[in-house]
């Protein structure tokens, strides 16, 4: 399938969760407490998209599936999209647009406070995701976009701090996040040791 078609397909598939949400809302399938259901639903999908985005490069290196690489930017932008929906849903449905109490809420609830740097970083990554920005930022672009790892950790702590009756969600998201960050850490260690080996050879030659 040509890349352009794949792009169209991935775009619409990524909108399926939102379509499901609209369908549930329109047919009263969001349960008795729909506000909370919406906040949870879009928040969960933001995390899923974050994990999908983070699995693009491992799927290329480990499973030799490179076809997702050209779509990584879109998947990342959908992460931002669902994260923004999560934030807006929180403002509308949980805070009831009572922004006078938002400051106090931020100070008192660490799990809400830590979403601020996460969402700011996601917005910055979204804005700098264009080809023009890649060219402009050069090497720094890669460095900047590595902050997605920090966003993943913040998102996981956000889930962990809300554990009440079950660790199931925190463990699920924790294991997936750990695996995707862990494999990168492993590659980084490998690369570092390779450099050391080369450097060591250099030294021995000089002596």
């Amino acid at each position: 399938m040509p890349v352009i078609w794949r792009r169209v397909v991935i775009f619409f598939v990524s909108l399926v969760p939102l379509a499901v949400l609209f369908y549930k809302a329109a047919t009263n399938h969001l349960g008795v407490d729909p506000q909370k259901a919406v906040v949870l639903f879009v928040g969960t999908w933001a995390f899923y998209f974050l994990l999908i985005t983070l699995s693009v490069s491992p799927s290329k290196k480990i499973a030799r599936q490179a076809w997702l690489m050209p779509h990584r930017r879109m998947l990342g932008l959908f992460t931002l999209f669902y994260a923004l929906l999560h934030m807006i849903a929180y403002f509308v449905f949980i805070l009831a647009l009572d922004f006078s109490s938002f400051g106090a809420e931020l100070i008192k609830r660490p799990y809400i406070l830590l979403t601020i740097p996460a969402i700011i970083l996601l917005i910055i990554l979204g804005i700098t995701s264009t080809k023009a920005m890649m060219r402009k930022l050069g090497k720094n672009w890669v460095k900047l976009h590595r902050s997605i790892y920090l966003v993943a950790l913040l998102a996981w702590v956000h889930v962990l701090l809300q554990v009440r009756s079950s660790y199931a969600d925190a463990v699920l998201f924790g294991l997936l996040t750990l695996a995707l960050l862990g494999v990168r850490f492993y590659w980084w260690l490998q690369k570092k040791s390779q450099i050391q080996v080369l450097y060591g050879k250099d030294l021995s030659r000089r002596q």
């Binding site: 809302a25 009263n28 349960g31 008795v32 506000q35 109490s101 609830r109 799990y111 660790y167 199931a168």
Partner: protein, 336 residues
């Protein structure tokens, strides 16, 4: 019976205001004319309320209980807030023994067997022992109590329980003067409660709750055996659950198998999990936040998506007139 958990709650299913108002007017009328004792569920069947109809269709209580429920006295309180419809009361539950999603209890409690049932009365009482629920309820007059239920998670409902005062039961077992607290324990049975096997649960099963003796003896404190005029559905804590309307919902322990009167304050489940978040008292208090969310407001369910029913939470859940004196010299920020 299959308590089908239908999430479809159309506005038409919510008890229309004119019906519940008529019901209240009707009950007040019976009160005014001195016919109170005869105002039972039989006489109220005249009023077509879809929630009562749904409760009747889903009822699977044993015959002896149905008999007693049919003669329950109507509520004479003046709570005029709309009742939460049957589908919401039975479709949105925290009953972690069945699962962690609000819809799990309705889906996964269908094979639960609340009858026959035994309750152990233990501790500082004159007549300890294990009793059949049927025997425990013999001679007890059931009554309907329409109470607000405020969950610690900031949602709330208005529920017509059928039950009896805990005090009337406890007195029959001759509490000793040493009895300062009452502790309650839920059934532990991993076959019937699948989540009691879960390794990811934060809860140390079985679920436990407790009250101070004066709270337990308070006339508002009831043990419920019914809902909307019929036997309590499994997901709501069949066959016997506590209801303490001025405290957060988690105090209202479900499927009780043991009631023990103790000299010392008993351990309670949520307090053991996170003492900084869930106190022993757990009185509804808008001025004391849960560390992770405000308790100043609540979502009165069922809530529409774009007409959120967010209301201010009342001190002691609106029962301050009756219960504030129980805590008059206590710092409620310290004893939350």
């Amino acid at each position: 019976m299959i308590t089908k958990n239908s999430p479809d709650i159309s506005p038409s299913e919510i008890t229309p205001e004119h019906i519940y108002r008529a019901r209240r007017d009707f009950m007040r009328g019976t009160l005014a004319t001195g016919l109170l004792s005869s105002a039972t569920f039989h006489s109220r069947d005249l009023l077509a309320d879809p929630s009562y109809t749904a409760a009747e269709a889903n009822n699977k209580g044993p015959e002896w209980l149905n008999q007693q429920l049919a003669h329950a006295k109507a509520d004479t309180q003046k709570l005029t807030e709309a009742l939460t419809p049957y589908d919401s009361v039975t479709g949105h539950n925290n009953f972690y023994e069945f699962g962690y999603d609000k819809t799990d209890p309705a889906k996964k409690s269908q094979n639960f067997k609340p009858h026959p049932w035994q309750v152990e009365i233990a501790g500082e009482v004159g007549k300890p022992g294990k009793y059949n629920l049927e025997d425990l309820l013999k001679g007890i007059d059931l009554e309907e109590r329409v109470y607000r239920l405020r969950c610690v998670e900031a949602w709330s409902m208005v529920i017509p329980w059928v039950g009896f005062s805990l005090a009337s039961l406890l007195k029959r077992f001759e509490p000793a003067s040493k009895a300062k607290y009452v502790s309650f324990v839920t059934l532990k049975d991993t076959k019937q409660f699948p989540e009691q096997k879960s390794v990811l649960s934060t809860i140390d099963w079985p679920y436990r709750e407790g009250l101070r003796i004066d709270e337990a003896m308070h006339p508002l404190t009831i043990l419920a055996v019914g809902l909307y005029g019929k036997a309590l559905p499994n997901q709501n804590g069949a066959p016997l659950r506590l209801v303490v309307p001025w405290k957060y919902g988690f105090k209202s322990i479900k499927s009780i198998v043991k009631i023990e009167l103790t000299e010392r304050q008993p351990k309670t489940t949520w307090n053991q999990i996170a003492a900084s978040e869930y106190g022993f008292y757990a009185n509804v208090n808008p001025a004391v936040d849960h560390p992770r969310w405000t308790q100043a407001r609540e979502r009165r369910l069922p809530s529409g998506l774009f007409n959120p029913n967010i209301i201010a939470t009342q001190m002691f859940n609106g029962y301050a007139d009756q219960v504030a004196n129980l805590y008059k010299d206590m710092d409620l920020k310290k004893y939350y």
